[in-house]
Amino acid sequence: MSEEFKVEIKPENLVYQKPALTTDATMHYCPGCSHGTVHSLIAEVIEEMGIQDSTIGVSPVGCSVFAYNYIDIDWAEAAHGRACALATAMKRLNPGKMVFTYQGDGDLAAIGTGETIHACNRGENIAIIFINNAIYGMTGGQMAPTTLVGMKTATTPEGRRVDLHGYPFKIAEMLTHLDGVSYITRQSVNNPVNVRRAKKAIRKGFEKAMAGKGTSFIEIVATCNSGWKLSPVEANRWMEEHMHPVYPLGDLKDI
């Protein structure tokens, strides 16, 4: 850098730093995994809302099983797919707490579909953060209910076939029919613009859950570059080309 315009490293010039609630533990996620970006957004939102002491997260089974190591709030670990049921109990027993679940598509859209639908139908005042990467990342990239038609995975080496495996499960669209849900949105974290939008959506979902308006459902279309066998940058590009047309971004319900 030229001496004339040397930016001084001092607090007045600080624009962005690691969120205060993000712990120093190195995340176990693969390089470029969307989970880390979403964790940062959640940490920032909780910090900005000033609810660190009254927030309880529910971590799922899947890659994000260790989410409790990375954000410095209270956490509970649910059995596979049962995060919404656990969150329901915690929110009902502690109505003043902000309770959110953080689930992947193998957890929320497969084994936990029933819990999710019923929690949304009851209108529990919780926020559900759903990371949809169309694959079972943790167990080695098997087909998930959200896998795209024709997408190659470990268990569909020739691509997903509609006659054999059915269609991609659009759980966010399905939940719009339930009266208990006040906010459903689908976001992505593939580029800076979408990251900023996703942060606003998470904040809005948390505020609605805290205001007792019903369930907030925030789907984040994410990458699994290891499972997709692509580099992180290529995975983001692949997601834009293939996932976003099937899972279009934007608010689906906002009342």
């Binding site: 850098m1 030229s2 004339e4 315009f5 930016v7 001084e8 490293i9 001092k10 010039n13 600080l14 624009v15 962005y16 730093q17 690691k18 969120p19 993000t22 190195t26 995340m27 996620y29 693969c30 390089p31 470029g32 995994c33 969307s34 989970h35 880390g36 970006t37 940062s40 974290v189 580029n191 800076p192 990251v195 900023r196 580099s231 992180p232 940058v233 983001n236």
Partner: protein, 80 residues
Amino acid sequence: MAKIKGTIVVDTERCKGCSVCVAACPSEVLALHRSVNSKGYNFSYMENPDACIGCANCAIVCPDSCITVYRQKFDTAPVR
């Protein structure tokens, strides 16, 4: 006329060299370094620091929160 310049500090030990920040930079400032950190990852660094505008795009897309961004405004009135 004021000039806005930025700079970043990368936590090289935390960086996993995913290069998402390199793709997100609008000014083509970032690149992966030839050397590696203790985990064996080529960490991100400012290859072209003069072009940095301190927009923080790299930092907000970083999955591992390893980038700190600073920005400063300089007065570019003629130097006497």
